[in-house]
């Protein structure tokens, strides 16, 4: 699964996700990617794209849960992402990771697997690319 999230210079947020699913999956099986609130979500607070065991991300309403925790509990982006990817998704029987950017332009790239192909870039900065633990799993330099 691949995905991207962005905050543009005008403050707009967006999330996109695309996938071939799982190897040897049953034809017709749909994972979390096109299920809004599970694998893909964007609102005024945050944009999120997920990757991993799709059924678990659906059960956890993973992407929307992150937004809800930020909006209603006042959690930071990193706190909300850490809770969902570290607790909620595993509790639902899944593994994987996600990328997220909030309204202030903060980014988080957490995962609970051995690695995640990932990258980030901010205006005026340099591109960051990682696969394993080259940088803390939840942060962007």
């Amino acid at each position: 699964t691949v995905g991207a999230v962005a905050r543009d210079a005008a403050g707009r947020l967006a999330a996109a996700t695309s996938t071939g699913g799982m190897t040897n999956k049953r034809p017709g099986r749909v994972g979390d990617c096109p299920v809004f609130g599970a694998g893909t979500w964007a609102d005024q607070a945050v944009a999120i794209s997920c990757t991993g065991t799709g059924e678990a991300f659906i059960r956890a309403a993973a992407a929307h849960e992150i937004s809800a925790r930020i909006r209603h509990l006042g959690e930071t982006l990193e706190q909300a992402c850490a809770r969902v990817i570290g607790t909620d998704v595993p509790a639902a029987g899944g593994r994987g990771g996600l990328i997220a950017v909030d309204a202030a332009g903060h980014a988080a790239l957490p995962f609970n697997t051995e690695g995640m192909y990932r990258g980030a870039w901010r205006a005026g900065g340099r591109p960051f690319i990682a696969i394993h633990e080259e940088a803390p799993a939840g942060s962007v330099p």
Partner: protein, 172 residues
């Protein structure tokens, strides 16, 4: 300023599997996607256009599980899903598509169409064709390494959704 982040999948990624220049190939694919999205944002484009361009680049790279290089179903077919959501509350998605060269552009077409949020299967393929999106034959999406993963899964009689199956076999 703007911020962009991308992912190309998560799972068990043994360092040994990234030898022989493979790691450099993955990093180049990720950088190309960042460049594609950042080019839009640098020019003052929207977050929506940026994420579509970044994902389009990842779909075009056969290393990642989307578009060209997608995983196979148990029937040996390729069925792809894609979704786009904007912070202002607009959304579009497609599931089980087999023909759009870039499924994310089909998702954007659904969003821009405004009448629906999610189209599936043959209807989504037909919508993409009617919208004038680039289509591709089935062979375009197939890669040898994904076929080898399917054959390995079949040989071990793995069921795709068993949670005790190692992630690489399930997710490529």
């Amino acid at each position: 300023g703007w911020t962009l982040a991308i992912h190309g999948g998560a799972g068990t990624i043994p360092r040994a599997a990234l030898t022989g220049g493979k790691e450099a190939e993955y990093r180049a694919g990720l950088l190309a996607a960042l460049e594609a999205g950042a080019t839009v944002l640098r020019a003052g484009g929207t977050a929506g256009d940026a994420v579509v361009e970044a994902v389009r680049a990842l779909e075009d790279c056969p290393l990642f599980n989307a578009g060209r290089g997608s995983t196979f179903t148990s029937d040996g077919t390729i069925e792809m899903d894609a979704a786009l959501m904007l912070g202002e509350g607009k959304a579009g998605a497609v599931t089980g598509v087999t023909r759009p060269r870039n499924p994310i552009r089909a998702a954007r077409a659904v969003l821009e169409g405004g009448r629906h949020v999610l189209l599936s299967g043959a209807a989504a393929d037909a919508f993409a064709a009617a919208t004038g999106l680039d289509l591709a034959p089935a062979d375009y999406f197939r890669t040898e390494h994904r076929l080898a993963q399917l054959e390995a899964a079949r040989a071990q009689d793995r069921v795709a959704l068993d949670h005790d199956v190692p992630a690489p076999a399930r997710m490529g």
